[in-house]
Symmetry: C2
Subunit: 249 residues, 2 copies
DNA sequence: CGCTAGCTTGATCTCACTCAATAGCAGTGG
DNA sequence: CCACTGCTATTGAGTGAGATCAAGCTAGCG
């Protein structure tokens, strides 16, 4: 079943019953090609989307045409839950790769809200997790240099992909171009390239055609000043995400 | 009554009944001196705070001791509502000035949640408003230069203070030092000073001992690429915040 | 096989940082 | 009343991280 392990990630605390309630709220599943804008800024929305497969971005367009990413979503993320209380978004939500998403009408969410206050709080929690990530992104831009920013982003993605079983703790697929990473870290593609080379020469990580391999996780974590507490992971996953405990096997 | 106009700001859409429910949920009011950490990162919390008077910051401390502001709150903001679903915070909440806050126990919020789903959605909305501001702060750091960042921050504070009646649309009290502004905009105090001078020489704004006066609001808005849609203000306030309509009187 | 998107590398420039010094101003205590 | 302390604002000179501009390389693909 497509949606079987959908909410495995942040909603790990969900009971089977709660998971079922959410899965039953799915009206249908949609596919979109890379580059498609799922939710344009400012337009009223009456349904929220849950990411099944691919990567989704939140981005803000400057009037001069440049754009900046303010968030990246991985499968299992309830991408657009924000739209439920907000009703319209202050930013765009777009597909970074080809994606498959589940659509949940707000009417169904209202029913859930009336029926189950604990689950409602879990959903609320999920949207605040995005806010926590935003704060860390602010920190990244404000306090880290180019190398640290990229390292920090790689640590974050590793941790998040680990939490959904899409990373083994050191190697994962990250189909983003260096220009995309530049839009995350507020760097030019040229400079991202130099940073990646530096990290490679330091023996910390390595990328080959959208597969990223972290060779020295503790080193990368230290360089990035990465502390995954803001992801609210369980202790074991957090330990694996920082390399403070042996990787499995 | 102290709390009379407490929720005038973002919660402007609240009915009298809803406002009353919230005011009745206030357990007590506290005062804290500038610099006091209201909620330290990582410690479990069982009550949320609503800001009555003064300025409150959200900030992240880097391991090297430097710190960065990821949010500023004005009176009327439900500062710490995040803590209700999160239970512990990923960052610190501190008093930038002497402050007075109302304390609302999570038990009372649970009662509200069970009793009134529309109000719950409004509360949820308020926390997402903070997330929307976070996104704009990311944009500010990522896409604007020093002058634009400071200008953007001043525009934001003007708009938010306008929404609570603490700015007349051009002049307001902002008790932040240039170093504080630097921690918001990721600039050194020295450079903030130069930027303030530039804005002064451009005839855009002016500060005298914590009173900020915006002289050319449309000019400042244009320079900062400021668009207040992310604050979800009503149309009239938004227009006044950008100077696209005549200021009152 | 040519085209396009993405990656790589070099040379130059600039914005904001760092270091350093001075000035203003409030509070405090002798 | 004045010295002393501490905090904030201000200005100058030198430096450096990352942007910009430019060019070449690589690989997938119609």
């Amino acid at each position: 079943m497509l949606t079987k392990n959908l909410l495995r990630n942040r909603a790990a605390e969900l009971s089977d019953h709660e998971r079922n309630m959410l899965e039953e709220a799915i009206a249908h599943v949609q596919s979109h090609p890379a580059g498609h804008v799922l939710v344009p800024q400012g337009t009223p929305v009456s349904a929220s989307t849950l990411l099944i497969e691919g990567l989704v971005t939140r981005h803000i367009d400057a009037p001069d045409g440049r754009r900046h990413l303010v968030g990246v979503h991985v499968p299992g993320d309830f991408v657009d839950l924000h739209a439920y209380p907000l009703k319209k978004l202050d930013h765009d939500v777009g597909a970074l790769t080809d994606v498959r998403v589940a659509v949940i009408p707000h009417a169904s969410l209202e029913k859930i809200q009336d029926a189950d206050s604990r689950l409602t709080r879990r959903l609320w929690f999920m949207t605040l997790l995005d806010a926590a990530m935003h704060r860390q992104w602010i920190f990244r831009l404000a306090s880290l240099n180019a190398t640290q920013r990229v390292a920090h982003f790689l640590c974050e993605m590793n941790a998040r992909l680990l939490a959904i079983g899409a990373s083994d703790g050191s190697e994962f697929s990250l189909p983003m171009t260096q220009a995309d990473i530049g839009e995350v870290c507020a760097l030019t593609n040229v400079h991202v390239n130099r940073v990646m080379r530096e990290l490679r020469e330091l023996g910390m990580c390595q990328t080959r055609s959208s597969r990223t391999q972290i060779i020295d996780l503790p080193g990368l974590v230290a360089k990035a000043l990465f502390d995954p507490h803001y992801l609210y992971l369980n202790a074991e996953t957090a330990a694996r995400a920082t390399g403070t405990t042996g990787t499995p096997q």
